[in-house]
Amino acid sequence: MSKAAIVSNSSGSNTGVILRTENITKVFPGTVALDQVNYNIYQGKINVLVGENGAGKSTLMKILVGNEQCTKGRVILEGEEIHVRSPEDAMRHGIGIIYQELDLCPNMSISENIFLAREVVHRGIIDKRTQQQRTRELIQRLERKIDPNTLVSELRIGAQQIVTIAKALAQDTRILVMDEPTSALSTTEVEVLFRVIYELKSHGITIVYISHKLDEVLQIGDCITVLRDGRLVAEEVVKNVDLHWVIEKMIGRKLETLFTRKRHKIGKVLLRVEDITLPRVGGGYEVNHASFELHKGEILGIYGMKGAGRSEMLECLVGANPRATGKIWLGGQDIGGNTTLKRIQAGLVLVPEDRQRDGLVLTLSVTHNMILASLEKYLNRFRLFLVKKKEEKAVNTLIKELSIRVADPRNLVVSLSGGNQQKVVVAKGLLTSPKVLMLDEPTRGIDVGAKHEVFEIMENLAAQGYGILFVSSELKEILAMSDRIMVMSKGTITGEFTKEEATESKLINASVVGNGLANEGKQ
């Protein structure tokens, strides 16, 4: 615990640890999400927590606020062990959380939301006036002027964020966890939020701040903790560190050792996309007139922040969104008007970002998942029945080719580890004999070894002449893997770089165009 000592000494004050975890371990079906984590939260500080996707940040927080139970380990609040079995328990101990996706009921008013499940009751009847009065006070404390009777659905995202904070404060929160609070906010809203956070800090409230946006983290944080692959790798005072230090700790090894591409020949145009547009409900665009080309044997990386429209664009390409417009040619053939099935048959296939939500049918076996998109290949002579032998042959070939570790392909797909589940989704795509493979965050939530294997698979496929679209939020990955990189921001393609041109700062700058973070004047 020498590191803890460093922090409290160098911070130059006598504030101590308000909450710490001892050897917290969490096992999920398929992965060890947290591995003996000793995490410290310092009283009255803004504690920032960073790590790559799947490093275990959210899981750790879910355990602290009672949404998950740890497999092993202890949570100690002010020197005493506590057992947090539910969010209500956490609340009783003064631990509150604001989630990435706002957990408000849009059909109810602000005050109803703030007092949801804790209604102020007078003789069995909800005391509306008191609730509204208290809501007004809370909102004023957050420097806002909103009528407590406003429906949440009528508020802008930034204002909704304020409501969730008010909701947490209404419950005498001493430790407030903020999970990616700025992911949906505009620049001005972020500034307001930061002011609110400083204000909370001045009232002695301890903040835990989780974010992907490292510049933000360094701006606002007092102490920083880095998680990597479920382990706590570093803890420091923010003013002693810089961006390089953080990235190095997060990734854990140099770019060169992560993956090196072999170069191979890139062929002629395989996929041409023109003016792909997806209007956003309520104005604007999710995907704004995107046009690009993809060549044979090329890996085209698509970088951008969360919500930049990358996944949405891929879904438009595969025909999953009926509101999308635009033209698509695959190998010279116009497939713009086709259904998902026809596009898959033409050779376009998507490996979706959220494999459990969009990629896998968790109630089915490995085999049945793998062959789901290519069933017509395993029919008998009369094209009626599925032939088990053909299915097994295809599945076993892919299991060997992608080295998927599975005891028996007849087992349910949930029994596999995250990395192997991802490979099953890739295998499902490959079995449709595609020409273009679209991989949306293929390395999300899988361990380092499995990542390496996924990259190897991508490399081999590209060498075989597949065109690969590769979406990632991780700079290092995208720089290492892509022949060409396209950057998206707010639905628009804001930059395109060859492998030689691309640098981290160029990509980041392009990814915040229109966000106002870097180029405020442009919008």
């Binding site: 079906p29 596009r343 898959i344 896998l360 968790l362 109630t363 789901l372 069933l375």
Partner: protein, 356 residues
């Protein structure tokens, strides 16, 4: 030598207490069936006589056939509440066709379709009703519960309208119209087994093959397990879902025909509340109401449990009230056990992972 020993101990590990419990839980419906039959036989020695078996198997056939259609619907994460009403409507359609024919007053003729045509037309009506369910659900995004609840009322209404609430009786046809023999569907038997049982057996076999060996079957499972993943894999979700309700409508029409034939009469209230028994058979058979998990075989055994249970309780002289209570307990109990088994499987999977 030592290697052989190692594999032996490894194998022995599988026969642990949790292993045995798992096996019992998996075969629970079958176990329940055996227990029910054993208990009834012990309580009433004449329980398993030929007459009882024939009555019971006829009831089982009706719920089995309805359950087959319902299994597809529930596997796709839907529900079909209109089953009983479509049974009634089909019975009335068949009865009307035999007794009154198709009247075309503008031409001054009445067409009496022969018995085979009656059966085919009735089945088509069932399929169309199912298709309407499916289209309302897929095109207009109406929740299956609501869409089929509407159809429950509408089909029952049409069943009553067909003959102003009266029964079509004496459905034996007339030799001069060439439409005799309808009653044979319910009364005759082949190899000593009633036709309705054969129909259930054939339906069950076909449904088993469709659900396990046809791409369509896989699509239904995928639809119920994860609609988004299915759509992104190229499954035509609207089409698959619509067909599922058409199958259910078809099975309901078949049951309507069987009942009308067995009674040699068609009453507009035929099949009231049958949908609930069909759902109970499916759920008893281990199919998850969340969709994506279950089997036709389970449903058939579930139908046997329900059939034997309800007839057995009647034979043993239990009151209707007591019968209802027991049936309710059995159905909820089955689902409770289902949940326990899922939890246990998860725990075992976790333990395996940690030990790795």
């Amino acid at each position: 030598m030592s290697e052989g020993k190692a594999t032996k101990t490894k194998r022995l590990q599988y026969i642990t207490r949790t292993g045995v419990i798992q096996l019992l839980l998996r075969g629970r419906v079958f176990l329940a069936l055996i227990i029910v039959i054993t208990v009834f036989t012990l309580l009433s020695p004449g329980f398993l006589n030929i007459a009882n078996i024939i009555i019971m198997s006829k009831h089982v056939a009706i719920f089995g056939i309805l359950g087959i259609g319902m299994t597809f619907v529930i596997l796709s994460a839907g529900i079909d509440l209109s089953v009983g009403s479509i049974v009634g409507l089909s019975a009335m359609i068949a009865g009307g066709l035999i007794n009154e024919g198709i009247q075309l007053p503008q031409f001054g003729v009445i067409i009496y379709p022969n018995t085979w045509m009656v059966i085919i037309i009735t089945l088509l009506v069932g399929i169309v009703m199912g298709a309407i369910n499916g289209l309302v659900i897929t095109r207009f995004k109406v929740a299956p519960f609501i869409a089929t609840l509407g159809m429950l009322y509408i089909a029952r209404g049409f069943a009553g309208l067909r003959n102003n609430g009266y029964t079509f009786s004496n459905l034996i046809g007339k030799p001069e119209f060439g439409n005799t023999g309808f009653e044979r569907l319910g009364a005759s038997s082949f190899l000593g087994v009633n036709y309705s049982i054969w129909i259930m057996a054939v339906f069950a076999l076909v449904a088993y093959l469709v659900s396990t060996r046809l791409p369509f079957g896989r699509h239904v499972y995928a639809l119920g397990g994860n609609r988004r993943a299915a759509a992104l894999s190229g499954v035509r979700t609207h089409r698959t879902e619509t067909i599922v309700y058409m199958i259910s409508g078809f099975c309901s029409a078949m049951v309507g025909l069987i009942i009308a034939s067995q009674l040699v009469a068609a009453h507009p209230a035929t099949g009231t509340a049958f949908e609930l028994t069909a759902i109970a058979a499916v759920v008893l058979g281990g199919t998850s109401l969340m969709g994506g998990r279950g089997s036709i075989g389970g449903t058939i055994i579930g139908a046997f449990v329900i059939g034997v249970l309800s007839d057995g309780l009647v034979i043993l002289g239990f009151s209707t009230f007591l019968q209802n209570i027991i049936k309710g307990i059995v159905i909820v109990g089955a689902v409770v056990i289902d949940q326990i088994q899922i939890k246990m499987q998860e725990r075992i999977a976790l333990q395996r992972q940690e030990s790795k």
